[in-house]
């Protein structure tokens, strides 16, 4: 139940995600060395356009990527079909985008 459009969107978003996640992991490894604190995180991110863009892009890409992935799993394992399947995909997308967007706003602004 996956046409080439969703497939390509998922692959493109994965390609976008890959470097971002590598960056995120590296940051985490560096960051956790001194122990994490809200101040430390916010100090790094707040007011930074670059981190804003970084996490903004991450959230957008992961929402597309994971929503399509979840939709596939819902089709293959939960046997969702037709409208229910599409609704499921859109809800996953919107949910991730909303939660993720809020988190970005929280740490960047």
């Amino acid at each position: 139940m996956t046409g080439i459009r969703l497939y390509m969107l998922q692959r493109i978003s994965a390609m976008v995600l890959a470097p971002l996640i590598v960056g995120h992991i590296v940051t985490m490894i560096v960051a956790v060395q001194n122990g994490l604190s809200a101040a430390e995180i916010l100090g790094r991110t707040q007011g930074s356009l670059w981190w804003g863009l970084f996490y903004g892009l991450f959230v957008a890409a992961v929402s597309v990527h994971a929503a399509i992935g979840l939709r596939t799993v819902a089709f293959e394992w939960l046997k969702l079909k037709g409208l229910a399947l599409d609704l499921f995909g859109w809800i996953a997308f919107a949910g991730l985008l909303a939660l993720g967007g809020r988190a970005v706003i929280a740490v960047v602004l």
Partner: protein, 242 residues
């Protein structure tokens, strides 16, 4: 192959679309014996009504595939020695296809998908033209040749969990055939074929499990063929859809 070396204990699935179960038989062991020979022995000596299918008996027609100890195989060229575990065999019809009776599966969905995937050559020349001059070593031809020796046995189709999970998925054999045609310089049906393999049941469904390539008795690699289709279809989508 331990214990009793002159008999095999064989369980055969018997039933039809409404249901069924395994029935046990003891079959004499032979030096030269394929799984098809075991099934034949049962039909000829123990169970005259046993339904199964074969034709060429040498791995050319792809009619005799069954599930043997859990995996799909061509039975006419599977020596018992290679698959029997401790003298045991469990034989069932191919998975992912409707059962007609006993070991005979209905291949119609498999061939319907072959056609639906654009697995039919679309001519651009006629019998009045000479055969096209195509260098055998050209990359396109090599790609087509790599997948052309398919006997449509449906072993890959039965091995594919994606077919099991997504019944409309065209499956490895049909897509493999489509890929050979994508690489056929003489074919005039490319646009329609690309559309067919790009759709909801198309190549994008494949998760690259590679069970198809693992079990194809002819050593073909549908996974690579499908990856090729994904590239073509993806590029076309980027051009037309982005």
């Amino acid at each position: 192959m331990t214990q009793d070396s002159d008999t095999l204990s064989v369980e055969v699935w018997r039933g039809d679309a409404r249901g069924g179960g395994y029935v046990a038989y003891a079959v004499p062991r032979r030096e030269s014996q394929t799984v098809l020979d075991v099934v034949t022995w049962i039909q000829q000596h123990a169970e005259p009504a046993l339904a199964y299918r074969f034709a060429c008996r040498v791995g050319m027609c792809g009619s005799c595939a069954m599930t043997v100890n859990g995996a799909p195989r061509w039975t006419c060229r599977t020596h018992v020695r290679r698959v029997a575990k401790a003298g045991r065999l469990r034989i069932a019809p191919l998975r992912n296809l409707p059962v007609i009776r006993d070991l005979a599966a209905d291949m119609a969905p498999f061939f319907d998908k072959w056609t639906a995937a654009g697995g039919t050559f679309a001519p651009t020349a006629t019998r009045d033209d000479p055969a096209a001059e195509i260098a055998p070593q050209s990359p396109e031809r090599a790609a087509a040749d790599a997948g052309i020796e398919c006997i449509n046995c449906a072993v890959c189709y039965a091995a594919c969990d994606t077919v099991a999970m997504a019944p409309d998925y065209l499956g490895p054999a049909a897509l493999n055939r489509a890929w050979t045609l994508v690489n056929d310089a003489r074919d005039g049906g490319q646009a329609g074929r690309l559309k067919a393999v790009s759709g909801d049941g198309g190549c994008a469904n494949c998760h690259s499990h590679q069970s198809c390539a693992d079990l194809c008795p002819n050593g073909l690699n549908p996974t690579a063929a499908i990856a090729g289709l994904k590239r073509r279809a993806g590029r076309a989508w980027l051009r037309g859809g982005a």
